[in-house]
């Protein structure tokens, strides 16, 4: 009998093994098949083919080129004949006529724009001519109600787009367009324009060396204050890039994350004691609190943000409170779980010395859970910095707001890239900060 059990017929064991292998093999094929079916369904549900055909690659090109370059518009109003040279065509970036860039030459009614590499645009009288190396000279002249285009012999190349109302010539060195009302040339240059000083500042266009000289020695440009203070203020109040406002926005975002996370931890800690089974014998109270945590977490940051911004209006306080609300639920749950895993012996030791319940919690429980809590709080602080960017876009505070505004206007892509870089740096800085604090407070280096 015993022999029968210890050595079952070889056939059964083998069958079982084969069956198990079969099951495994089926699962190994079934899972990828299910995933594939799901992805196929998504492919059509999300209309991927339609998105691919409708993708605005021209937008992507604008975006990419704006990330690292800027353009200067040389515009002639064909009615009045006045020519303006402006960075990105903005008022704030218009060159005063006395300080035109060296590649623009103006004499009476003749404007010569040197685009480099032999490309040259000349506005002359009513018309204009564009010299393109290896091709020839393109002449454009207003005629009647439209525009007349004179090209060198041969077929019209695809980089020239001409109709009776508008002529556009796109070359690697620059873009030229003419309508009845205005003649415009764009020259592209690498770098972010006027990043440090705008044109109205006396420091614009100076090299780093000249600036350093001015800052250290040099005569005071503004007698009322030293050059270095002048420089910092001109940089900080730069109208084009608004460094001061951006710094404030970044600070606001970090502030929202900090206040939300820490506030949630402060609120959740006492509640967690009440929700932990080994500290609160009252079952109904525990149940109510747990459901409260679940509710607050389940309502989700998005809904809290909407409700709170109705009550408190837009701004960083609303964002902080939204983070605080959501994370109170998460922390309450996490903390009460940590509290339930506390070692009872230390608490009993403290209790045996005649300590009150509060003292027991302080000296018996807190030393055990503080490392766990701190590392969770710091982890949330880092992740909330990212959430604060999104929440800021909804409540209207911080860098999230600036970013959405810049994206919605769809022209200041260099500002968008500036903000993106700053946001990434901010999140990385908060990541290192929370890792460093974790190491400092808990005594072990953060995970890398």
């Amino acid at each position: 009998m015993t022999a029968m059990i210890s050595t079952p017929p070889a056939g059964t064991l083998g069958d079982a093994a084969v069956a198990a292998f079969d099951r495994k093999r089926r699962v190994a094929f079934a899972i990828p098949a299910v995933v594939l079916v799901y992805l196929t369904y998504i492919f059509f549900a999300f209309d991927i083919p339609g998105i691919v055909t409708n993708a605005r690659t021209d937008n992507a090109a604008i975006l990419l080129s704006d990330f690292w370059s800027h353009k200067t518009h040389v515009t002639r109003d064909n009615r009045s004949g006045t020519v303006t040279v402006a960075i990105e065509g903005e008022n704030k970036g218009t060159y005063p006529p006395s300080r035109l860039p060296e590649w623009v030459g103006m004499q009476d009614s003749l404007t010569r724009i040197d685009l480099g590499k032999g490309y040259e645009v000349v506005y002359e009288g009513e018309g204009a001519r564009f010299t393109v190396p290896d091709y020839g000279v393109i002449r454009v002249q207003p005629e009647g109600r439209g525009i007349r285009l004179d090209l060198p012999e041969g077929e019209i190349p695809d980089w020239i787009n001409a109709s009776s109302a508008r002529v556009t010539v796109t070359t690697p060195e620059g873009r030229f367009s003419m309508t009845r009302n205005r003649t415009e040339t764009f020259r592209y240059e690498p770098g972010w324009e006027l990043f440090f000083f705008t044109l109205d500042s006396p420091f614009s266009g100076l090299s780093f060396r000249e600036l350093a000289n001015l800052a250290i020695s040099g005569e005071r440009i503004d007698p009322a204050r030293p050059n270095i203070v002048h420089m910092i203020s001109d940089f900080w109040n730069n109208q084009m890039w608004r460094h001061g406002d951006v710094a404030w926005a970044l600070f606001e975002t970090v502030l929202m994350a900090f206040l939300g996370t820490m506030g949630a931890a402060v609120v959740a800690l006492p509640l967690a004691f009440l929700a932990a089974s080994n500290f609160t014998p009252a079952r109904s109270l525990r149940f109510v609190l747990r459901r409260f945590f679940d509710f607050v977490r389940g309502v989700d940051g998005l809904i809290w943000t909407i409700i709170l911004s109705r009550a408190f209006g837009p701004g960083p306080l609303t964002g902080s409170l939204a983070i605080l609300m959501t994370d109170t639920g998460s922390f309450g749950k996490l903390f009460s779980e940590a509290l339930e895993n506390v070692d009872r012996k230390q608490v009993e030791g403290v209790q045996s010395t005649g300590a009150s319940p509060i003292q027991q919690a302080r000296f018996g429980v807190m030393p055990q859970i503080v490392p766990v809590l701190l590392s969770q709080v710091l982890y949330y602080l880092e992740s909330n910095t990212r959430s604060a960017t999104v929440i800021g876009a909804i409540v209207g505070g911080g860098i999230g707001l600036l970013l959405t505004q810049a994206i919605i206007t769809q022209k200041d892509w260099e500002e968008v890239s500036y903000y993106i870089i700053l946001i990434v740096l901010m999140v990385m800085a908060m990541d290192s900060l929370s890792g460093w604090l974790r190491g400092l407070l808990i005594g072990q280096t953060g995970r890398t």
């Binding site: 799901y38 998504i42 549900a45 999300f46 991927i48 998105i51 409708n54 993708a55 605005r56 690659t57 937008n59 992507a60 975006l63 606001e252 502030l255 929202m256 900090f258 206040l259 820490m262 506030g263 402060v266 679940d294 977490r297 389940g298 309502v299 989700d300 940051g301 998005l302 809904i303 909407i306 409700i307 709170l308 109705r310 009550a311 408190f312 209006g313 837009p314 701004g315 960083p316 306080l317 609303t318 902080s320 990212r386 960017t389 999104v390 876009a393 909804i394 505070g397 999230g400 970013l403 959405t404 994206i407 769809q410 968008v416 993106i420 946001i423 990434v424 999140v427 990385m428 990541d431």
Partner: protein, 285 residues
């Protein structure tokens, strides 16, 4: 003899007390700094907010009660509206689902490439790690908004944005798991002539799958929330419907309530189901 001993113990006692006092002082200072930061931070945030905290706190229930009273008055509409918004809800969940799926695949690959002892190109480990850090650091909204500009509205920008972030986040968590994986199966497989992908597939994956799946499920929960919020800011899914209903304001609050209820129910159900499965995966049956 006894005199010196008691003097010595007295010294020790004094030292200990001084040490304890110093520690107490440090934690006191730390606490004080923390409280000061919190108080001044809240005051600053309050000052820069459009509405103040103390005026707002009275209005806190105004909006919810307004919304709820209108919804109660139109309670008959709610089931129909919930049915109407169900496709958007499914889209939101699908965005999160696909993003988690893609992110998990990408994260798995990156994590294996950046785990010491398993990496295909050990010299490139720091590169892949920094890559994951960068992917984690870029907030989803940034990518989503930029992609909306290029691809137009709809669910795809949100999906790509979340997938990108998920790849970085899961890659980091996955590599922590695979770092603890037993190397013996891998060695055995490579000694039998298995290629890198074969030894990963047959040697590492069976060990790490339960923990990886558990992390992926947790990420799915997070992604559902992220997908709803991205819809509100950008486009696609139930978040977008919520934004339209909110912009309409009064008169459409029954829609707002229907969406709130759907979202709440979905998040709670997904949380419960995922925590059930995670428990099962990590702790065994």
């Amino acid at each position: 003899m006894t005199d010196t001993a008691s003097a010595k113990s007295g010294d020790i006692r004094a030292d200990y007390l001084a040490h304890a006092r110093q520690r107490q002082m440090y934690s006191g200072i730390l606490l004080l700094v923390f409280v000061l930061l919190m108080v001044s931070g809240f005051q600053l945030a309050d000052a820069r907010n459009a509405g103040g905290f103390w005026t707002g706190i009275h209005q806190f229930f105004d909006f919810p009660s307004e919304v709820v009273s209108e919804a109660v008055a139109k309670a008959a509409n709610l089931p129909g509206l919930m049915w109407k918004f169900l496709p958007s809800l499914i889209e939101t969940v699908n965005i999160a689902g696909v993003a988690t799926l893609i992110g998990a695949c990408g994260g798995a690959l990156l994590s294996l490439l950046s785990t010491r002892g398993l990496a295909r190109f050990p010299a490139l480990i720091p590169v892949f790690r920094r890559l994951m850090d960068a992917m984690r650091a870029i907030p989803e909204i940034v990518i989503a908004l930029v992609l909306i500009f290029v691809l137009g509205g709809g669910p795809v920008p949100a999906m790509i944005a979340i997938a990108f972030h998920t790849t970085g986040a899961l890659g980091k968590l996955f590599s922590e798991v695979s770092e603890n994986a037993d190397r013996k199966p891998v060695e055995g497989l490579s000694s039998a002539g298995a290629s890198w992908s074969q030894s990963m597939w047959l040697g590492v994956l069976p060990q790490v799958t339960p923990n990886w799946l558990s992390y992926a499920l947790l990420r799915f929960e997070i992604n559902v929330r992220a997908s709803a919020i991205l819809g509100f800011v950008g486009s696609g899914g139930i978040g977008y419907d919520l934004k339209t209903a909110m912009q309409w304001g009064q008169g459409r609050y029954d829609q707002v309530v229907a969406i709130f209820l759907l979202l709440f129910a979905t998040i709670v159900v997904i949380d419960q189901v995922s925590s059930h499965f995670r428990h099962k995966l990590v702790k065994g049956h």
